[in-house]
C-alpha cells in the first residue's frame, strides 16, 4: 500500500546542520510505516501552527500491570488516522545501559513487527522507549518482549525504573557496585514497579561517585551517591608529572578545593582528609595521581524532584554513610519504613520530598526511627519558632 505523502518543508530545515537529525530518523520509519508517516505529517503541522496536537492519555496497559504504558491519542484522528492511538511503552533497560547487538536487534525486530519503529534511547528516567503503539498491539508486544527476556518499566504512581552509571564495569571512581544495586533493587521492587499503589512516583538513582553521572541528586526520591571514608590515595610521582605537564596545581586544583584541605610545596601534595568534602575535584583534575580511598560506600540522600507540585527540591542527606552489602536488606528495610509511612500519610501527588517538608524532617525521622545527625543539615535552624515537645509525654 502506498503511503500518503506529507509535505514537510519546515521539518526539512531540521535535516540540515551537522548534529544527527531526529527528522531523518522519523522519515526513515515514515517511509515504511504508516504510523510514523502520520506522525511526520502531524509534527509538520505542529511546526506550522506552533502547538502540539496530542490528547491526554487514557488508561491503557498490559494485563495485570498498571504501569509501563503511557496512553497517547492525537487530537486529529480524522486527519491522521494511523496515530489515533500512539501509546508509549517503557521497556526496562539493563543496568548501565549495557547491551549486546543481539539483544538490541531482537528489540528492533519486535518493534518493527508491532509498532512505529521509533524509539528513544533512552527516556529521561532511563527506560528504552517504544514510541507509538496501538492499544491492540500492546499485549502482543509485551508477550514478545518477555519472550526475549525484557520487561516493562514503571510509570504513574509507582517505583520508576531505577537507573545508574556505568560503575565498576568501566569507572575507576565507582565507590560501590551501582550496577548490582540497581539490578537488585529493580528485581526486588517488581511488584511496586508494575502496579502503581503509591501517592506519586518514586525514583531510585545510583551514582558511583560524587560526580553523580546520573544526576541522582536532582531527580531521584532516593539518590545513592558513592563516596569513601578513608584517605584519598596519592601517587606523588604522578602529581609531579601533571605539574610538569603544565597543570597549575596551586591555582587549578588547590584553590578550587572546597575543603581548603590541600597543600603543595612543588614536590609533595598533602591532603588533610579530615576536612576533605569528597567533592571529586582534585581526583577529576588528576585521575592518574589521585584515587578515592578504599573504605568505600555511599551517601543516601532523599527527596529531590522537579517543580511539580510544590516546587523543585535537591535531595538531602538521609544516611551519611552506607556500606552496601548484598542483599542490601538494611537499606531496603529503611525504604520499606519510609514507603509505608508515605503511603499511609502522603497526599495524592505528593512526592516524598514534599511530604517531608510538610510534616517536618524531625518528625519524619522520628516516624521512621532514624536518629537526627548533624550531617543531615547544612546548618542548624536559624529561626526560633521551635515546636518543643512536651517533656512529660516523652
Amino acid at each position: 500500500m502506498a503511503l500518503k505523502e506529507h509535505k514537510t518543508p519546515l521539518l526539512d530545515e531540521l535535516e540540515k546542520g551537522e548534529w544527527p537529525s531526529f527528522v531523518t530518523e522519523i522519515k526513515n520509519c515514515a517511509s515504511k510505516n504508516e504510523m510514523s508517516n502520520d506522525l511526520l505529517g502531524l509534527l509538520e503541522k505542529s511546526y506550522r501552527e506552533r502547538i502540539g496536537f496530542w490528547k491526554h492519555g487514557g488508561i491503557v496497559g498490559v494485563m495485570g500491570y498498571g504501569g509501563g504504558v503511557i496512553g497517547r491519542y492525537t487530537q486529529l484522528p480524522e486527519e491522521y488516522p494511523n496515530i489515533e492511538h500512539f501509546h508509549t511503552m517503557r521497556v526496562n533497560q539493563p543496568s548501565g545501559w549495557l547491551y549486546t547487538s543481539d539483544a538490541l536487534r531482537k528489540l528492533c525486530d519486535i518493534w518493527e513487527k508491532h509498532g512505529s519503529g521509533l524509539t528513544n534511547m533512552h527516556g529521561s528516567t532511563g527506560d528504552i522507549v517504544f514510541l507509538g503503539c496501538t492499544t491492540d498491539d500492546l499485549e502482543p508486544t509485551f508477550a514478545d518482549l518477555t519472550e526475549a527476556g525484557f520487561d516493562l518499566g514503571g510509570s504513574g504512581s509507582d517505583v520508576r525504573t531505577p537507573s545508574c552509571c556505568i560503575g565498576p564495569a568501566r569507572c575507576e571512581w565507582a565507590c560501590y557496585d551501582t550496577l548490582a544495586v540497581t539490578y537488585d533493587f529493580t528485581m526486588h521492587y517488581q511488584d511496586e514497579l508494575h502496579r502503581p499503589a503509591f501517592p506519586y512516583k518514586w525514583k531510585f538513582k545510583m551514582s558511583g561517585c560524587p560526580n553523580d553521572c546520573v544526576a541522582s541528586v536532582a531527580r531521584a526520591d532516593i539518590s545513592i551517591i558513592g563516596t569513601w571514608q578513608d584517605d584519598i590515595r596519592i601517587d606523588q610521582d604522578s602529581v609531579g608529572e601533571y605539574s610538569d605537564n603544565g597543570l597549575d596545581i596551586l591555582r587549578d586544583v588547590i584553590m578550587n578545593c572546597p575543603g581548603k584541605c590541600m597543600e603543595w610545596d612543588g614536590k609533595t601534595l598533602e591532603i588533610d582528609n579530615k576536612t576533605c568534602r569528597h567533592c571529586m575535584h582534585c581526583i577529576n583534575a588528576m585521575p592518574k595521581a589521585l584515587r578515592p580511598g578504599t573504605d568505600t560506600g555511599a551517601v543516601v540522600l532523599i527527596g529531590s524532584k522537579a517543580p511539580i507540585v510544590e516546587g523543585a527540591i535537591i535531595s538531602s542527606v538521609l544516611v551519611p554513610f552506607w556500606k552496601p552489602e548484598p542483599p542490601y536488606d538494611d537499606l531496603k528495610d529503611l525504604m520499606d519504613e519510609i514507603i509505608d509511612l508515605w503511603c499511609e500519610e502522603g497526599k495524592a501527588r505528593e512526592r516524598i520530598g514534599e511530604f517531608i517538608q510538610r510534616v517536618g524532617m524531625g518528625n519524619f525521622l522520628d516516624a521512621i526511627g532514624l536518629e537526627p545527625e548533624p550531617a543531615m543539615v547544612a546548618y542548624p535552624r536559624d529561626n526560633p519558632y521551635v515546636f518543643y515537645e512536651d517533656a512529660e509525654e516523652e
Partner: protein, 359 residues
C-alpha cells in the same frame, strides 16, 4: 486472550552481567585510571594492566530501529557486539584493540554521527518529548535541541571549553526530564491561564482533585447555571499546567503565548561546589520553529561569554558566582526584568542581603 503460551510477567530487565564484554568482566572493579586520548576517545587502564578503549558518539534521543541496527553492525565489527548508551543519549563503543580507534570513528562519522562529548566540552542535550508526543508541551523538544546542537557542535567535537557544559530541555514545567540543575536549562512555558471547559469537566474529572492540584490555590469550585464546575483566579495562576495534567478539561496550550525560558548556572556534580539549581536568565522567548534562532543566539552568547572569561574548570554557575549576576547581565546583554526577582515562597532568600557588590 486465547493463548496457549504461558504469560510471562515480572521478570525485570535482563541481567547486565550478560551484556558485559570479557574485558569488562575481567577488570570489573579493578579500574585504576583513565585518560582522554583525544575528544570523544578514552582509555581506561586496569590494575591488571589491561586497557579498554571507548569511543563516544553523539546521538539523537529519537532513533529509528534502522539506526539502532546500524550501530549494532558497528559494534559487531569493532567491539564483538558490546556497546552501551550514556545517560545523555550518547552511544559508547568499547574495545581492547587500539588500532580500531580510527576506523571506528570513521564508521560513526559515515553514519552521520559526531564523536566527542568528553572532558571540558558540551555533551548531548537531555530532553523530553515536545510536540512529537506530549499533551502539555509548550514547545518542541527535539527541534530546539537539534538547532542548539548544530550551533554548538564545535564545542562537542573539541574540548575547548573551561569546564563541562550540560544543557537540558524540558517542554513544560512538569519537567519529565528534570532540567532544573543544568548549566543551561531550556524550559518550555505557558503564559496564559487554562481555559476551563465546564461542559466536559464534571464528566472527566473530579472537582476536588482539580482544585487541589493547583500549587497556588488559583482554582476554586464554581456553579454555572446550577451545574458544578471550577473557575481559575487568573492573578494566582503561574501556568504550571498541573491542573491540565490531572484534568483534560483545562487546556492551556496556546500558539501565541507558549514559548521558552532560559535558566543558567545549575549543576548536579559535587565537584568544587555543591549541586545547585539553575537561575532564570531569560523569562520568555516566543516559539519560532523550525530553528528557534532567538534561542540559539542567546545560548551562544551565554556560552561564549563564559568560554572567554571563565577560569579553568569553572562551570557556568561558578563563573557567574565569581563575577556576580549584575556583571553576567551586563556581559551577555540580557535585559534584567521584574520576572527575574522571585516572588514565590521564601523569595527573600534570593534577594541581595549584603553590600557585597562589584562596580
Amino acid at each position: 486472550m486465547a493463548d496457549t503460551q504461558k504469560r510471562i510477567t515480572d521478570i525485570g530487565p535482563p541481567d547486565y552481567k550478560d551484556f558485559m564484554s570479557p574485558a569488562m568482566k575481567a577488570n570489573y572493579g579493578k579500574w585504576k585510571y583513565h585518560e582522554i586520548i583525544r575528544p570523544g576517545v578514552m582509555v581506561h587502564v586496569s590494575e591488571t594492566g589491561d586497557k579498554l578503549f571507548t569511543v563516544r558518539a553523539g546521538g539523537s534521543r529519537l532513533m529509528s530501529i534502522d539506526k539502532i541496527r546500524q550501530f549494532c553492525d558497528i559494534a559487531d565489527k569493532f567491539c564483538d557486539g558490546y556497546f552501551r548508551f550514556t545517560s545523555r543519549h550518547n552511544i559508547e563503543f568499547m574495545f581492547t584493540d587500539e588500532s580500531n580507534i580510527d576506523p571506528l570513528i570513521k564508521a560513526i562519522n559515515d553514519l552521520g554521527h559526531p564523536v566527542g562529548g568528553t572532558g571540558n566540552s558540551i555533551s548531548s542535550i537531555v530532553h523530553t518529548q515536545g510536540w512529537v508526543h506530549c499533551h502539555s508541551a509548550a514547545t518542541d523538544a527535539s527541534g530546539v535541541v537539534k538547532a542548539v546542537m548544530d550551533d554548538l557542535i564545535d564545542h562537542f567535537k573539541n574540548m575547548d571549553l573551561p569546564g563541562k557544559l550540560r544543557i537540558a530541555l524540558a517542554c513544560c514545567l512538569n519537567m519529565c526530564g528534570a532540567v532544573h540543575c543544568s548549566d543551561i536549562a531550556i524550559l518550555g512555558i505557558h503564559t496564559k491561564a487554562p481555559i476551563v471547559d465546564n461542559d466536559t469537566l464534571p464528566k472527566m474529572c473530579e472537582i476536588p482533585t482539580v482544585v487541589a492540584s493547583c500549587p497556588t490555590a488559583a482554582i476554586r469550585p464554581s456553579t454555572e447555571d446550577g451545574k458544578p464546575g471550577v473557575e481559575v483566579i487568573e492573578e494566582n495562576c503561574m501556568f504550571c499546567a498541573n491542573c491540565y495534567t490531572v484534568c483534560p478539561s483545562m487546556p492551556l496550550n496556546n500558539a501565541d503565548t507558549d514559548g521558552i525560558s532560559l535558566w543558567v548556572g545549575g549543576k548536579v556534580s559535587n565537584a568544587r561546589t555543591e549541586p545547585t539549581f539553575s537561575k532564570l536568565a531569560v523569562p520568555f522567548i516566543p516559539n519560532n520553529p523550525p530553528r528557534w534562532p532567538e534561542v540559539t543566539d542567546t545560548i551562544r552568547t551565554m556560552v561564549e561569554v563564559w568560554a572567554q572569561n571563565a577560569r579553568k574548570f569553572e562551570r557556568m554557575g561558578e563563573f557567574i558566582d565569581r563575577i556576580g549576576w549584575p556583571r553576567f547581565f551586563e556581559m551577555t546583554g540580557i535585559e534584567f526584568q521584574k520576572e527575574h526577582i522571585d516572588d514565590f515562597k521564601y523569595a527573600g532568600l534570593s534577594f541581595k542581603r549584603s553590600a557585597h557588590l562589584s562596580y
